[in-house]
């Protein structure tokens, strides 16, 4: 079962006196993904590390599954939270299978259950168990290492997953694929995920809600669409980048603004779960200013025009 993670007025002052996290409060609902976004030094990684107590808050309280983490045993807490970091941190002297089995081993699972779990997870992250079990991390590509990192984090079926720039060290194509796979995995497993990233595209893609941090303070909290449509201030707008309206089109399903029913020109075609961006692309490709929207079984369920799309963006901004 996924568990909610809650920050209650959490602050962190480092020993050198600087305030890394300033009165942070938010809730990550069970089974949802929250992205902590901001420039380096904004306190996002510190916030994440307070959840598995790699560092402790100076004041305030963090709850996992309604329980204060200060009241949970340190090791019990850490073993119950999956943890993925940027450079993976795979153990170089252990095989892939041994890496994935570390936490189940610590939890005292019987050997046969651990072995079965390792195969299951390798399948889940798209690595053939027979081929990859006995390899060492150094014999893997960056993307494969990160897959093993995700598998290791999921090993003991934790209720929540903490990810710190998990795809930051990968090339764009590999990053894209792994993001897609993470979305697939998350659809299946419904974990509570907190992901730290400086990459707004990644946040928009992966998260149900985005928390934008600056200098330890929460600047904005909302769904990707909310944040894209109305950035709280110029700082957030800048983080979103000049193409934030395109990103908005990317995150809005065409079904949301289409005119229901038949009619409309026989211009381009777009599936109902497609995004507004895809609808525009289809229109551009077809050389038509409108498109029909097709339902899952292929019948025509509505239509949308380029003007509708522009209007929807303008209205929301």
């Amino acid at each position: 079962m996924a568990q909610a993670i809650e920050f209650r007025h959490v602050s962190k002052r480092f020993d050198n006196g600087s305030l890394a996290v300033d009165d942070l409060s938010f809730v990550v609902e069970a089974g949802t993904t929250m992205a902590l976004v901001g420039p380096s030094g904004c306190g996002k990684t510190t916030s994440l590390k307070m959840i598995n107590r790699l560092t402790d808050p100076t004041s305030g309280e963090i709850l996992v599954g309604g329980r204060s983490i200060a009241a949970t045993g340190l090791l019990e807490l850490r073993r119950s939270l999956g943890y993925v970091i940027q450079y993976v941190g795979l153990f170089p002297h252990m095989t892939v299978a041994e890496n994935i089995g570390v936490v189940p081993h610590l939890l005292g699972w019987p050997r046969s259950r651990i072995e079965a779990r390792i195969d299951e997870l390798l399948d889940l992250v798209g690595l053939a168990p027979r081929e990859f079990r006995d390899r060492r991390p150094r014999a893997l590509s960056g993307g494969q290492q990160q897959r093993v990192g995700v598998a290791r984090a999921l090993a003991a079926d934790p209720p929540a997953l903490l990810m710190d720039e998990p795809f930051g060290a990968l090339d764009p194509i590999t990053r894209d694929r792994l993001q897609d796979e993470l979305i697939q995995i998350q659809r299946k497993l419904r974990k509570t995920v907190v992901i730290v990233t400086h990459d707004m595209d990644e946040a928009v893609r992966l998260a149900d809600r985005i928390a934008v941090l600056r200098a330890g303070k929460l600047v904005q909290l909302g769904t990707p669409a909310e944040v894209l449509a109305s950035p709280a201030d110029s700082f957030v707008a800048e983080l979103l980048g000049r193409d934030r309206l395109l990103k908005l089109l990317r995150t809005t399903p065409v079904a949301k603004i289409m005119t229901s029913g038949g009619g409309g020109a026989a211009g381009a075609r777009i599936a109902e779960q497609g995004s507004l961006e895809e609808a525009l692309l289809a229109m551009l490709a077809a050389g038509q200013p409108d498109a029909v929207v097709l339902g899952s079984d292929g019948q025509l369920i509505g239509s949308v025009t380029a003007a509708d799309i522009v209007r929807s963006a303008v209205r929301r901004v």
Binding site: K49, N52, L54, L75, E76, L77, R78, R79, G82, Y83, I85, Q86, Y87, V88, G89, L90, F91, P92, H93, V102, V103, L106, R136, R138, A139, R152, A153, L162
Partner: protein, 209 residues
């Protein structure tokens, strides 16, 4: 007397001395490894230990072996302990130094990942850090081992039997046979030890790649 004649008449003595040499070697290397790795971990972990232990061990390392032996006689007496202790002290430094630098070389992110997923500090050390640093540590053990094999010959001067006894005898009696035999066996032993530990080091490196 030729070498072969000497071996023929004194074979039992040579075998006994070689065995004794190996025994001294095994004990001193084991002691140096235990203390070297232990101090190396302490040096890597605790700042004040580094500032106390490193200069002390460096000083001992700089002392010629013969001086260490001479000093140890009034303290520990002539015999096994008197010979063994000053010698294995010499073996500690390379192991200590390599253990400390090997641990310092373990990727901090690996350690953080291990801590973050719930290993205790002890488990992080034993299961993650020491195995990762193993090639460097073995390399330190190899340096100590090769040095100990030859330095052990000096124990003959304080009455502890080893291959050094043959060398001392040869010098005292102006007899080249035991002199050459003692030197040759010591050298062979050193080369063999070096090869074995190079192999172990390579195996440890292969485990990491």
């Amino acid at each position: 007397m030729t070498l072969l004649d000497y071996l023929h008449f004194q074979g039992d003595l040579v075998a006994r001395l070689a065995w004794q040499h190996m025994l001294l070697f095994g004990l001193s290397l084991a002691g140096a490894t235990i203390i070297g790795v232990g101090l190396g971990v302490a040096v890597a972990r605790v700042r004040w230990v580094a500032s106390v232990v490193v200069p002390a061990v460096n000083l001992l390392q700089a002392c010629p072996e013969v001086v260490l032996l001479a000093v140890s006689i009034p303290l520990l007496g002539i015999g096994f302990e008197g010979a063994l202790i000053p010698l294995f002290v010499k073996g500690v430094l390379p192991i200590l130094r390599n253990t400390a630098s090997g641990l310092a070389g373990v990727d901090a992110r690996t350690i953080e990942a291990a801590t973050g997923i719930g290993l205790t500090p002890r488990q992080v050390l034993l299961r993650i850090e020491l195995p990762s640093a193993l090639p460097v540590i073995i390399s330190g053990i190899r340096v100590s081992a090769v040095m100990l094999v030859s330095v052990l010959t000096l124990t003959a001067y304080i009455g502890v039997e080893s291959l050094g006894t043959l060398i001392v005898q040869g010098i005292a009696r102006m007899d080249p046979a035991p002199l050459i035999l003692g030197s040759l066996l010591t050298a062979l032993f050193a080369v063999a030890v070096n090869y074995i530990l190079v192999g172990a080091e390579r195996a440890a490196v292969n485990r990491l790649s």
